[in-house]
């Protein structure tokens, strides 16, 4: 039960950030707020609730995710020091598989949304980096603190990490990937990711 709740929250966090409209060019919080609202519209759209529309809804969400999340930066950070040793092709493949893994883990659980509210509580900008503090309030009035980490690249803010309750998405995968790499190899890790996405 607890696990389910968590995935829902992480998912919500991911959506909230990942529906980015390139036309915006304001402060990071503003962007995240607008994005969240946009995503909430997609998930609560009754026309898309029908099971036959599931694929289309997923497609729309994935599209907004792609527009916003800096997948390469996220993957690079998640792979950590092993990134430098990989060639261009391996990196591309890894970014693709890692994106699929995140999609499967979080975007698949779209149905988990049940009227949580999102409050914006703070923002810190430091040069090309920014952090946006958000509190997600569940129906049971439990507050879940979420921090979005953004980076300014080509005059746009891109999200590269999401921290929920002090647990970082990138650090979580970084530890796991480094464990897998220590036990097997990069090829072993890719194989595991491929199996996951084929499931």
């Amino acid at each position: 039960m607890r696990r389910k709740g968590w995935t829902g929250i992480v998912l919500l966090a991911l959506w909230a950030v990942c529906g980015f409209d390139p036309a915006w060019a304001g402060v990071p919080t503003e962007k995240i707020k607008e994005t969240t609202d946009k995503i909430l519209v997609i998930v609560s759209d009754p026309a898309l609730k029908d099971p036959s529309q599931a694929a289309q809804r997923r497609e729309r969400i994935r599209k907004t995710v792609d527009e916003m999340c800096d997948w390469e930066e996220m993957s690079r950070r998640a792979l950590g020091r092993h990134w430098a040793k990989r060639n261009e092709q391996e990196r591309k493949e890894f970014v693709r598989l890692f994106g699929q893994l995140l999609e499967r883990t979080y975007v698949d659980k779209v149905e988990g949304y049940s009227g949580e509210k999102v409050n914006y509580t703070g923002e810190r900008v430091d040069g090309d980096y920014a952090e946006v503090d958000v509190k997600i309030v569940t129906k049971e009035k439990t507050e879940i603190p979420v921090v979005y980490k953004l980076r300014n690249k080509d005059q746009r803010w891109w999200v590269y990490d999401i921290v929920v309750e002090g647990v970082s998405l990138v650090n979580n995968y970084r530890t796991q990937f480094s464990d897998i790499m220590a036990k097997s190899s990069f090829e072993g890790l890719m194989q595991k990711l491929r199996e996951k996405s084929a499931e």
Partner: protein, 147 residues
């Protein structure tokens, strides 16, 4: 002559004892007498979780440095770490405050990143994670549910 010898020997032993005591207290206290080797970096945490001066900084479980100072900076915890010279931290390394076991002492764990930029002496570790408050988490999920 003989008397002098005994007094001299006792004196030697006393001095040796004091030196041993001084050595022990410096070693056990984690103090460093002649400056410290390595270099300093700092990081800002939203919560230090009671981290203390002298706590260890580890990478992959291996101690690579110690906490030099903890103080408040704009309502955030500013933690200065002294790291061994040979340890290089990438700009996107993540510093997380962890607890040994469930209620053990706090320490900082660093997971190395992918960036080619290295944090210079006196630089800042940007990516930080506060300790996870198990008690608060538990109470949220124990008392939060009204179903």
């Amino acid at each position: 002559m003989r008397k002098f010898n005994i007094e001299f020997t006792v004196g030697l032993f006393v001095i040796a004892g004091i030196l041993c005591l001084a050595y022990l207290s410096i070693k056990l206290g984690g103090m460093e007498l002649i400056g410290s080797r390595g270099y300093d970096v700092y990081a800002l945490f939203s919560n230090s979780g009671g981290l203390k001066q002298g706590s260890s900084v580890v990478i992959a479980g291996v101690e690579v440095g110690r906490i030099r100072n903890v103080d408040l900076d704009d309502y955030q915890a500013r933690i200065v770490m002294n790291l061994n010279e040979e340890v290089k931290l990438q700009e996107d390394a993540i510093a997380a405050i962890k607890t040994k076991g469930l209620i053990g002492e706090k320490f900082i764990e660093i997971t190395p990143g992918a960036s080619e930029k290295i944090i210079p002496p006196g630089g800042k570790i940007r990516e930080t994670l506060p300790p996870v408050d198990f008690e608060q988490l538990l109470s949220k999920y124990v008392f939060g549910k009204v179903e």
